[in-house]
Amino acid sequence: MMALSRTTLFGGVLLLAGVIGFALLPGFVGGYGLSMAINFLMFAILATAWAMFSGPSGYVSLATVAFFGIGAYTVAVLGERLPWGAVLLLAAAIAFLVALLVGLSTLRLRGVYFVIFSFGLAELIRQVVNWYESTQAGSVGRYVFLDITQEQIVWQLTAVLALLFIVGWLIERSRVGFALRMIGDDETVALHCGVNITLIKVLVFSLSAAFMALVGAIVAPRWTYLDPSIAFNPNISFQVLIMALLGGARRLYGPLLGVIPMVLLFEYLSTHFPHLFSVLLGVTFLAIVYLVPHGVAGLIEGYVQRYRKRFPGKRAESDIPKEGAL
């Protein structure tokens, strides 16, 4: 119990330091630094939100960009008509509802079927938006002219990331988070233990979708011009997946460890090899799955466990395997 509160305190201090750091950042860096910070924050939220559901449950989703794009389009359509706060809430609410409907009908699919389905869902939404824009709205693209600066985007994303960490932490230690881990281990057992598995899965899936939509909405003003191939670019789903897996999806802080190197790597690849980007993305994915199957967080915990096993006197015996179990 003592150890738990110590790690909680440590996490809280780190979170606070991060928030203050990002809040003050615009005073110290120029436009390029801000744009990197936005990239970093954006992927940090997307990957953490992705891992909040997919990590414990084992349902690998490639629908990240579907919800991200819903957020961006909410801004493109309503951004000038409603107050900014209402637009953000609406973006999150729409994504939540879409995820709810989709989840109810499809979260009974397991393994590769769910992966394929979620990828198909993102494409479907993109095509529907494409069709609507070209046949009903009159033009495929939209302009987003909002008076929102890069600094403000950084601040908003920082707030969302902090909120996400708090929500994620609360879920992880609640019965909902525990049930999600049971589902990831064995759905049948979870069901026969009294867990309403559909409710739990759909709830957390929808919650993570709402966060993804928030990111899409907040960064939309950055683009000025938006069309379905930008807002629903499937590369985003794959990048998020790769980052979360590299960092380690079974820990709340895990994806963050993958986001930092990957944002830098993707930035480098997309500026130096723009035409080979997709190929290199695939190669990176393969390398990660082969080399660090449990992510950086898994590697670190592996070392910590081995260290503690070698020096068992350092901490209470009971702490050791408990950490590794999560």
């Binding site: 525990f178 049930a179 881990r181 281990d185 064995d186 069901l191 026969h192 408990k322 179990a325």
Partner: protein, 246 residues
């Protein structure tokens, strides 16, 4: 026994898979505090029957009542909350979670959920009860077969079931483990848990069960004390074949 005194009352339950009637208008009662063996040759529908009671499968016809309330066709999580816990024919523990969490899985979502530090101490007590107090922090996947079985039992007991379904819980144990396991079940029974067990280990059935229901081809062919039921000519025929008298 009258139907009103029965904890579990199965009436004319049928379950078809295509043209096969895996369970065919089966009826039986389980009284409060009884241990009843559900027996029969392979493929006679025992596990299907267990799945119907626990909600893993829905019956095509018939009623299943737990203390008077119809539970036939309810989803497994609702049935678990009504007080029916089960173990699985192919043992199932939560592989990436430690033993304490495996038991808490049974504590947190039942009719009276226990959570937090109360759950920790309850889970420890349950592990102790099945002789696994020293395994609290071991992961499910790292356990021996016998320990996985014990852990499954602890998880099932964590639900505080009125009725416990054991699907070949004793299968695959060596003779000394078997003695231990039977002793454990006897202890559990002493605490007032009603049990239905599908079992092939005859020694266990003779020493534990008050009554047996014997199935063949989806139907009940005999019922009574183990000694009576197993001596029925129909039962002998079902197990050994028709030409045994020839």
């Amino acid at each position: 026994m009258t139907a009103s005194a029965a904890l579990l009352s199965v009436r004319d339950v049928t379950r078809r898979f295509g043209n096969l009637r895996a369970v065919d208008s089966l009826s039986f009662d389980i009284g409060e505090g009884e241990i009843v063996g559900l027996l029969g040759p392979n493929g006679s529908g025992k596990t299907t029957m267990m799945n119907l009671v626990s909600g893993a499968l829905k019956p095509n016809a018939g009623t299943i009542r737990l203390a008077g309330a119809d539970i036939a066709g309810l989803p497994p999580n609702r049935i678990a909350r009504q007080g029916i816990a089960r173990t699985f024919q192919l043992v199932r523990v939560l592989p990436s979670m430690n033993c304490l969490d495996n038991v808490k899985a049974g504590l947190g979502f039942g009719a009276e959920p226990v959570w937090g530090s109360a759950a920790d101490s309850r889970a420890e007590a349950l592990l102790q009860r099945v002789g696994m107090a020293h395994r609290c922090w071991t992961l499910g996947k790292d356990l021996t077969y016998m320990d996985q079985k014990r852990l499954e039992l602890a998880r099932a007991l964590a639900l505080q079931p009125r009725l416990l379904l054991l699907d070949e819980w004793l299968a695959g144990l060596n003779p000394s483990e078997l003695v231990e396991a039977i002793e454990l079940l006897r202890k559990v029974r002493g605490e007032g848990v009603t049990m239905v067990m599908v079992e092939h280990v005859m020694d266990a059935i003779r020493s534990l069960c008050d009554r047996c229901v014997i199935m063949n081809a989806g139907a009940k062919i005999a019922e009574g004390t183990p000694a009576e039921a197993l001596a029925e000519p129909e039962v002998v025929r079902a197990y050994l074949g028709d030409d045994v008298h020839a």
